[in-house]
């Protein structure tokens, strides 16, 4: 099927009063970012919809494949064009229905006759086309209210546009329309999902990861880099800050009683994240915590950890079950990477019986014997930063 253009419906953003213009600009930029390698695409934005056109059919095919990933799009439809000749309209209608799953589906034809000089009136054209289509596809069932296939025909003076398929978009809001936050990315299943949820609401992300060589391997770092890269596929660059965490973990190990060492570790991570957040000008911190999932995610633990900062900490998964989280992880494609079995800094030095209800005063008391701030400053300074998406590795190109 050869398509002329793609119609994009904005969704939620259509309801946003004065901010509409900036939302549309963000959406346009996101689409451009995703299709940097498709040079012939042209965009025309209207109040509540946008058209993408290209002279190259392959580019349109590429768009159809990738548009469902971009936030801020409620749905989109590939549009075919033909001349005003009745045979031509009929032929195009058949082709469109053919390209859909049409067996036993309910069906109607909607006509919009913008060119009032067109010889057939709206009802005549509807009937003619519907008759023709029904002869070809006898299993279609005519239904005027909420049909599964709604063949929409718009007659203009120079062409006739036609579409039937409505492909759901990713919903949400265009990336960048809601500022920037810092995601604490561990390498597990939850944190990439939490990042995705914020991306969906239009928040740009930086990610932070704690790396403890030689206890954690290069592969566990690469795994997190892969995850950051996967998050960047949703339409914006993601920067990853890798914090050297070995020294801090070792001093926690030697200073803090074993059963609250986990709480202190999290508190140090949060402090570091807050410093990095300040430096990059982000407004919030995002974590994948889900209430009661592990010892560090009880209400008491969360309170003790959260006490180190007044920055808003977003926990989009707080009320999700593990299985619900896994579902989303599979849908967004991070699950397979997340379950790779490499040690990360949370699984080494773990206490066999961490406190699920740590007392804040006690934790603060234990921490007071050691000046962690110096170590924290140093760790933040020595961090490595990576930016995604990266260009593909070319090392193997000559072999393949």
């Amino acid at each position: 099927m050869k398509w002329e253009k793609i119609l994009i419906r904005y969704g939620e953003l259509s309801t946003k009063g004065k901010n509409r213009k900036s939302f549309i600009t963000h959406l346009k930029n996101n689409i451009k970012f995703s299709f940097i390698d498709l040079p012939n695409i042209k965009m025309t934005a209207e109040r509540d919809r946008m058209f993408l056109t290209s002279t190259d059919d392959l580019e349109i095919q590429e768009l159809i494949k990738s548009l469902p990933k971009i936030f801020g799009i409620q749905s989109f439809s590939p549009v075919a064009a033909c001349t005003q000749q009745l045979e031509d309209i009929e032929r195009t209608a058949i082709k469109i229905i053919e390209s859909l799953d049409h067996q036993d589906k309910t069906f109607r034809v909607t006509v919009k006759r913008t060119d009032k000089r067109y010889p057939l009136d709206t009802y005549e054209l509807q009937r003619t086309i519907a008759n023709h289509v029904l002869r070809q596809f006898p299993s279609l069932i005519v239904q005027m209210k909420k049909p599964e296939i709604d063949l929409r025909i718009e007659v203009l003076s120079d062409a006739v546009y036609m579409m039937a398929e409505v492909i759901p978009g990713a919903g949400g809001m265009p990336l960048g329309s809601n500022g920037r936050s810092l995601l604490m990315l561990s390498g597990g299943i939850d944190s990439p999902v939490a990042g995705y949820m914020l991306l969906k609401r239009g928040v740009r992300l930086d990610a932070i990861h704690f790396h403890s060589p030689p206890f954690t391997s290069e592969r566990s770092k690469e795994k997190v880099m892969d995850l950051a890269n996967q998050l960047s596929h949703f339409g914006a660059t993601v920067r990853l800050h890798v914090i050297p965490f070995t020294e801090i973990q070792q001093s926690i190990q030697s200073q803090i009683p074993e059963n609250v060492s986990m709480t202190t570790t999290r508190r140090m991570m949060m402090k570091i994240a807050d410093l990095v957040r300040e430096e990059i000008g982000a407004l919030g911190i995002v974590t994948g915590e889900s209430l009661g999932q592990v010892a560090s995610q009880t209400l008491e633990s969360l309170t003790a950890i959260n006490a180190v900062t007044t920055t808003p900490v977003f926990r989009p998964l707080i009320s999700f079950d593990k299985l619900e989280i896994i579902d989303i992880a599979q849908k967004i494609g991070t699950y397979e990477t997340s379950i790779l079995p490499y040690e990360d800094c949370c699984t080494i030095f773990t206490s066999s019986c961490p406190k699920t209800k740590p007392k804040l005063e006690k934790v603060e008391y234990y921490e007071s014997f050691k000046d962690f701030d110096e170590l924290i400053k140093e760790a933040v300074e020595k961090r490595e930063t990576y930016s995604f998406p990266t260009k593909k590795k070319n090392e193997f190109e000559s072999l393949l």
């Binding site: 290069e218 592969r219 590795k393 193997f396 072999l399 393949l400």
Partner: protein, 377 residues
Amino acid sequence: MIYFDNSATTKAEKEIIDTFVTVNEKYWANPASIHEFGHHTNELLQSARAQVAEVLKTTKEKIYFTSGGTESNNLAIFGLVNKYKLRGNHVLISEIEHPSVLEAAKMLQLQGLDVEYIPVNKDGIVSIEDVNLLLRNDTVLVSVMHVNNEIGAIQPINEIASIIKAKSRAVFHMDAVQSFGKTLVNFEEQHVDAITISSHKIHGLKGSGLLALKNTIEIDPILYGGGQEYGIRSGTTPVPLAVCTAKAIRLANSHVEQHAARLKSMTDDIIFFLKTFASIKIISPEIRAPHIVSFAVRGVKGEVIINALQKEDVIVSTSSACSSRQTKTSHVLKAIHIEDDYIKGVVRLSFSYMNTIEEVEHFKKIFTKVISVIKGD
């Protein structure tokens, strides 16, 4: 030497041999090892897999590197039947399949499955009506080769696919060993569920190939062990061979249309030439793969012609390398009812893009000479 036996095997591309050497020198770790070296080798293997998946239009988790066409066909037949056994125990294959499908199907029959054969017409093509008649709602697997290796007949894969889809829940396997690189083969061009490809027929290395599945299809293994290749084909994955397979597939696919057009004009020319001999009958059908010409000389054994041509440094074959050593008549030629006085005199010419027009001209001269000696006219 003029080599017109490319359906038996092809000469490995120099570039591919270079790749084989480099990978063996630089990336020889076990891709399943967890150390950096193994990890790095695995990255190369996954890049190779991703490249193949892109060409075949599926996901990389559905590409299984194997030891070649025969293993891939066996894996497809037994693996798919086993995975989907709840859908029924009726299997359909065409009667002109490669022995690696035919013999596997015979084994299924011994195991108690109901195997039926789809007949072909005189052109070696299965009829859609026959498929329609034979399909049942407990048909679990249909296997039809894309291009026949002995006569070059092309099967109407997409028509078969739509009838299978309409009438049954069967999965559809296509042996594309002879068609890959001669025509576009991928899951969007052919609406099949599984595709077999062999490397050494497309200037890759012997002992390698793959089975590809459509992204929605699953399969059971036939080899059990360490769970390599997503558990579908245990045994340490030979990374050098897998990388060479990926490269052979990329090279063969990249110029497929130009090569096919060139091969078609070369073989059209040869057919035109062969038709000038009164004693020769062209066996390849009108609609045929661009690289195979099968013909028969009345009253002469094919072997005699092959030996005579060989003395002149021209390499051709009888029906196929697999059946040419057997004394009985090829099942393909029987299926298309070749007349008795021709059936022993079958010769197959099979070409690759490495062949030239000069070679074709030279062949014509030699062939004229050889025929006049043999037939004495």
